[in-house]
Symmetry: C2
Subunit: 176 residues, 2 copies
Amino acid sequence: MIMDIATVNGLPYEDFVNVFGNVVEKCPMITAAVWSRRPFANLTALQAEISEFIDALSESGKEGVLRCHPDLAGRDLHSGTLTQESREEQAGAGMDALSSADASRMAQLNEQYKERFGFPFVICARMNDKENILRQLSERCLNERAVERARGIEEVKKISRLRLQSLVLSDAPNKL
Amino acid sequence: MIMDIATVNGLPYEDFVNVFGNVVEKCPMITAAVWSRRPFANLTALQAEISEFIDALSESGKEGVLRCHPDLAGRDLHSGTLTQESREEQAGAGMDALSSADASRMAQLNEQYKERFGFPFVICARMNDKENILRQLSERCLNERAVERARGIEEVKKISRLRLQSLVLSDAPNKL
């Protein structure tokens, strides 16, 4: 059920966290914090508050956000323990239907990435297909840690913007 | 299974978050962030890192942490949706066995508190009994918002220290 911004602004914090708590994967604290900034002028303003909160975290805080994300095509997908949002996003990018060669390549690169950086590879699956994801994963394994932390956080913000967009009416509906 | 600090320091971030993710209620991001600070000299150092991370959050971030906490003797207790840690702590303080008069007094004060402050009443249940909790709840309803935010955060840190203490061996075992 998609809400208009007036409805969003009227929610007590408990309902707000119930609805938007997973806009940043497994970080309901971020949504709960942003409730303090209501009222939001529109969807864009709400998206911006989430992004600004994340940007203002310390470097270890940003790494903490990344570490709350599951691997792509990883253990949680196979054991059915992904959040609903992640499951849909990963399925949309074909992560639940990899060939066995792609699956083992993905698993190997995920491990290599986590070993190198101490956080998982995060990418906005809804903006990428399987080929793209595999290519970027292998390329990004070569980056510096600080570059990857910043890059991962940009992807977290893209994911959160799309999740919000599926829950809140956008600002400027086309008028005929 | 209680761990020694060397074992804690050897955990990959995924295991660390699995074990310690709820040391701050529903805020695995905080635990995940603190993994960046390993190795920890001892339990006290790990407890201090969690507290320092919380203290360094913005005011809205601290309110976000508070809003991730359930009411005492509230909806989650009655519907069985408390985290395991909260359930045990609330039961230990008798929150699951209130008289009907105490239960309605508690519900009324919780609502009043949330209405006034925009976050729930948080208290370390393992350090208080039922009488104490009811008295403090009614007194703290009268505080200023900034005072209560700071007070709630001190309680969050006490809760996290006790949760950590049940998971990690303490620093100085008695020697005979």
